[in-house]
């Protein structure tokens, strides 16, 4: 089973999957792509592109097996974990597993869209704004999903919605508070044992320290946990491969909840 993982710089969903892959020890060919150049939408050998085209996560990593594109960082992490013969990153007990999945869902539904919005406004917008019109059109013409395309267009040309920005900053603070609360009993990892939740949460939160620093003030347990996750060889190894500061790489992510 030939597997190729196309991933961006080690931040956000690409980092979560690279870390989980390294923890799993599963043999996969990795190819780094330039997400902000739209390379994700022109991958070779993809015959079943549905998950790449319509994934909720936006510009996350893509695993290709037998032409089928596979996406969504939590589920790719589970996939590698389930192929692995190493200790699992998913609790065996069904209730503990439910808690981990609920935590990851909170992160991907609430933190990820917020972090992606703030990260992209802070660092990606400038580069896209200076891209020539023709080059940008060619890039977004390849994007199949109309709503993902719209997120690229708004990022380049649209005005940032102050209410969304404020709400996103609040969501980052809420995520940090949830981490601080979870770690209050002195546990080492968010779910007790090391799980996918640690990598998924770290990957979206680490880059927010420079953008929403006040969210991390007086949160010593979260700071220590971030340092512990960052020191895992799987994470440190991925970060060491960054072409610059890893936390400064963002590409359009999940949409902000349409229901308000």
């Amino acid at each position: 089973m030939a597997m190729v993982l196309y991933h961006g710089e080690p931040n956000g969903p690409s980092l979560a999957v690279l870390a989980a892959l390294a923890e799993s020890g599963v043999a996969v060919e990795r190819r780094r792509i330039h997400l902000l150049a739209g390379e994700r939408h022109a991958l070779p050998g993809v015959t079943e592109p549905l998950a790449r085209d319509m994934g909720i996560e936006g510009e996350g990593p893509v695993l290709v097996i037998d032409g089928e594109a596979m996406t969504e960082s939590v589920f790719l992490a589970q996939f590698f974990d389930e192929l692995s013969d190493r200790p699992s990153l998913q609790p065996r007990d069904p209730h503990a597993h439910w808690e981990m999945m609920m935590w990851c869902r909170q992160i991907t539904e609430r933190l990820s869209p917020a972090a992606a919005l703030l990260g992209n406004l802070a660092v990606s917008r400038k580069g896209l704004a200076t891209m020539p019109d023709g080059a940008f059109s060619a890039l977004i013409d390849r994007i199949v999903s109309a709503d993902l395309r719209a997120r690229w267009e708004v990022l380049r040309d649209g005005a940032a919605d102050p209410a969304q920005v404020e709400d996103s900053r609040a969501k980052v603070s809420q995520a940090v508070e949830r981490c601080e609360g979870k770690l209050a009993d002195g546990r080492e990892w968010l779910m007790g044992d090391l799980t996918i939740a640690d990598f998924e949460t770290y990957a979206w939160l680490a880059g927010m320290q420079r953008i929403v620093p006040e969210a991390f003030a007086d949160k010593p347990l979260t700071a220590a946990w971030l340092a512990r996750v960052g020191a895992r060889p799987s994470v440190a190894g991925a970060l060491a491969e960054a072409d610059g500061e890893a936390a400064a790489f963002w590409a359009p992510g999940p949409e902000i909840n349409r229901w308000g």
């Binding site: 549905l50 998950a51 319509m54 909720i56 969504e72 589920f75 996939f79 439910w98 539904e109 229901w259």
Partner: protein, 255 residues
């Protein structure tokens, strides 16, 4: 074994997912009908179980579980009975992918239309002061916004058009996927089918121009195959509103 209690509304959308999963597994449970149209889910008795005021919720002994898709995964892992997740890791990935796509992209669009067609008109007949008091009891601020829009019918034209676009696109994607294999995400019946049926069972009735035997033969074949399952019949028999009785369209030979 500790007892299971499920707090649910109709066999439809989120409530129907754990109802059907429990029935497919053969797990006996106490059924507590929470009448969403009477705002039962925001009453203190229910908030004591699920402070977020969302339906469904399940208790298993002292454990309280929320979020319909996550509850289904728990049910499948915790109880004996037929496996509702496939054996292969890649197939399990596909089940999870489809459930997230439906939960976060497709279902909100269906429900925006459903709320404006069913829920809004049904509750709007009531006393405005009573409605406002009911809204004020909703714990989650974003749910208050949604309920106001649903009750007063103030989803914007652009929001409704986007939801309609997504529903049409979703029907095309389901049809294409079900052309590849017997069930939605793998060669065996899984949680993705339970999730999908709850979302899609009334499509041929609500979107007749987009979904019928001629235009979407694979979607119709799949809907009928799920509907033929005894657990599905048992589950939909618990429905009380005309909304879920729409499932009877699947008994027609030609749609």
């Amino acid at each position: 074994m500790a007892g299971v209690t499920l707090y649910h509304w109709e066999p439809n959308a989120n409530s129907g997912k754990p109802m059907l999963a429990l029935m497919e597994k053969g797990v006996a449970f106490d059924s507590h009908y929470i009448d969403m149209l009477q705002f039962d889910q925001h009453r203190p008795e229910y908030l004591a179980i699920n402070p977020q005021g969302t339906i469904p919720a399940m208790t298993h002994g002292a454990r309280v579980l929320v979020e319909s898709t996550a509850i289904m995964e728990y049910v499948d892992e915790e109880f004996p009975g037929p496996a509702l997740m496939p054996d292969s890791a890649r197939d399990r990935w596909r089940v999870r992918w489809w459930m997230k796509f439906m939960d976060q992209w497709l279902a909100p669009s269906f429900s925006m239309i459903g709320w404006s067609v069913f829920v809004g008109p049904m509750v709007r007949r009531r006393d405005p002061a009573e409605l406002e008091a009911a809204i004020a009891r909703i714990p989650l601020p974003e749910r208050r916004v949604s309920w106001r829009k649903a009750i007063h019918g103030t989803f914007s034209e652009a929001e409704m058009a986007e939801s309609q676009r997504r529903v049409a696109r979703g029907i095309e994607l389901l049809e294409a996927e079900l052309g590849k294999r017997e069930w939605l995400a793998s060669d065996s019946y899984s949680l993705a089918d339970i999730n999908g049926f709850n979302l899609a069972y009334a499509i041929p009735l609500s979107q007749p121009a987009l979904s019928n035997d001629e235009k979407t033969p694979n979607l119709l074949r799949w809907l009928r195959a799920v509907y033929a399952r005894p657990a599905v019949k048992q589950c939909w028999a618990l429905g009380r509103t005309d909304m879920v009785k729409r499932v009877a369209i699947l008994e027609q030979e030609r749609i």
